[in-house]
């Protein structure tokens, strides 16, 4: 149960949602777009999240889309991870998303909610970073379509009053060879340590990582070293380790040293699988 009150709105159009946010904002409220809402409900309970006006976007048709349009797969931001998993239209996303939280929780957690979450894992973004997907964002300035790698730097850089509506992914990345591995410190159900997702396009290997730093990332520098086949395998892995961004997480789930040890082995696993 949440220890504060808020107004609850459920707009049915993009315009209505954007206008409502602006209006409430101008009235001095602290509106929040709400999709699965699991983060507000769990963090709000312990005073780590707050709003006085929830704008639930799940009834907006554009945000619920799941379709192939031409050469692109379009996924709405309010689709639950379970809906995505059951449809299995993007196998790398299915595999990565199926490791988030647990099955029942994934029926509530949404694609957009995970990508825009406060929690630093945000693993659902990894496949889209690898696939150079496009994001559709709506806000006071209208709709805009942007490559995700231009707007996702540690987090999705939304301006006030904007929200994520859809993600579009080119089909050639949907069918590319991939691997997605999640490592936990304890059993199959413990909190995540590191998730790595990798995609192979032609002879090029792409990797994106969650749980190593306090943000998910894809690094062209890391990929460049991993793809340098003139170097020995050990030198490529060691070189990639040296190029991961700072800071390395050092917490109760795993020390920085342990995380780098796990990452090193994950790099070997990825190369072994995708360079066969």
């Amino acid at each position: 149960m949440l220890p504060f009150d808020f107004d609850y709105y459920k707009p049915e159009t993009l315009k209505e949602a954007v206008d409502l946010f602006q209006y409430l904002d101008q009235q001095g409220n602290q509106p929040m777009f709400f999709s699965g809402g699991t983060e507000l409900i769990t963090l709000g309970r312990i005073d780590l999240a707050y709003t006085d006006a929830v704008i639930d976007i799940k009834d907006i048709a554009e945000s619920k889309v799941m379709k192939v349009s031409g050469d692109h797969l379009i996924l709405g931001s309010t689709l639950s991870l379970t809906e995505i998993e059951e449809a299995n239209l993007f196998p790398l996303l299915t595999k990565t998303a199926s490791e988030i939280a647990d099955h029942t929780a994934r029926g509530k957690i949404t694609l957009g909610g995970n990508i825009c979450a406060q929690i630093f894992y945000r693993e659902a973004v990894l496949p889209f970073l690898l696939a150079d997907s496009q994001v559709l964002i709506i806000g006071p300035e209208g709709k805009k379509v942007i490559p995700i790698n231009e707007i996702f730097h540690e987090q999705l850089r939304l301006k006030r009053g904007e929200f994520l509506v859809q993600l579009a992914t080119d089909s050639r990345f949907i069918t590319a060879p991939f691997i997605s591995i999640k490592r936990r410190q304890q059993w199959d159900t413990g909190y995540p340590l590191i998730t790595i997702a990798a995609l192979k396009t032609g002879q090029e290997l792409r990797v994106a990582i969650s749980g190593l730093c306090p943000f998910p990332f894809r690094s062209k520098e890391v990929e460049s070293v991993l793809n340098n086949i003139e170097m020995s395998l050990e030198a490529r892995v060691q070189g990639a380790i040296e190029l991961v961004p700072d800071p390395i997480l050092d917490d109760v789930e795993g020390s920085a040293e342990y995380r780098l040890f796990v990452l090193q082995n994950l790099f070997y696993d990825v190369l072994a699988r995708l360079e066969r």
Partner: protein, 154 residues
Amino acid sequence: MKFHTITLNINGNNRVVTVRSADTLLYALRGKLGLTGSKPGCLNGDCGACTVNLDGWPMKSCLMLAVEAIGKKVTTIEGLQNAPIQQAFVENFAFQCGYCTPGFIMNCHSLIEQHPDADDEKIKEWLESNICRCTGYAEIERAVKSVLKKNRVP
């Protein structure tokens, strides 16, 4: 509005209830409607003791606002009337203290409905959503499999 008088379809009946926007479905079920079968555990979406069935799928009722359930069909443990999985839990000793049992049963019931051909991997994936600290999962898994097996008999 911070308060809403809403109609929820629960166990096949329309129930009118006044809730805060901030009330979870779990709180509304237990505190407003007297349906105490759904258990509060972690209240954080981790343990699964509060699991109900929402339009055929499992849902942790502590992770959902009551107002989000408008227009959905909610089934709680009270709404199951001698479902095969309930008898299977008894026959397979699939509970001990029983606190987590309603959540497990609602999750297992949903699994059987959604995936009548569920394999070991699927069963494990679904059962990971619920935590039991005293029985262990082997008996629960056996209970699920016994129902799946009976349902497959032509």
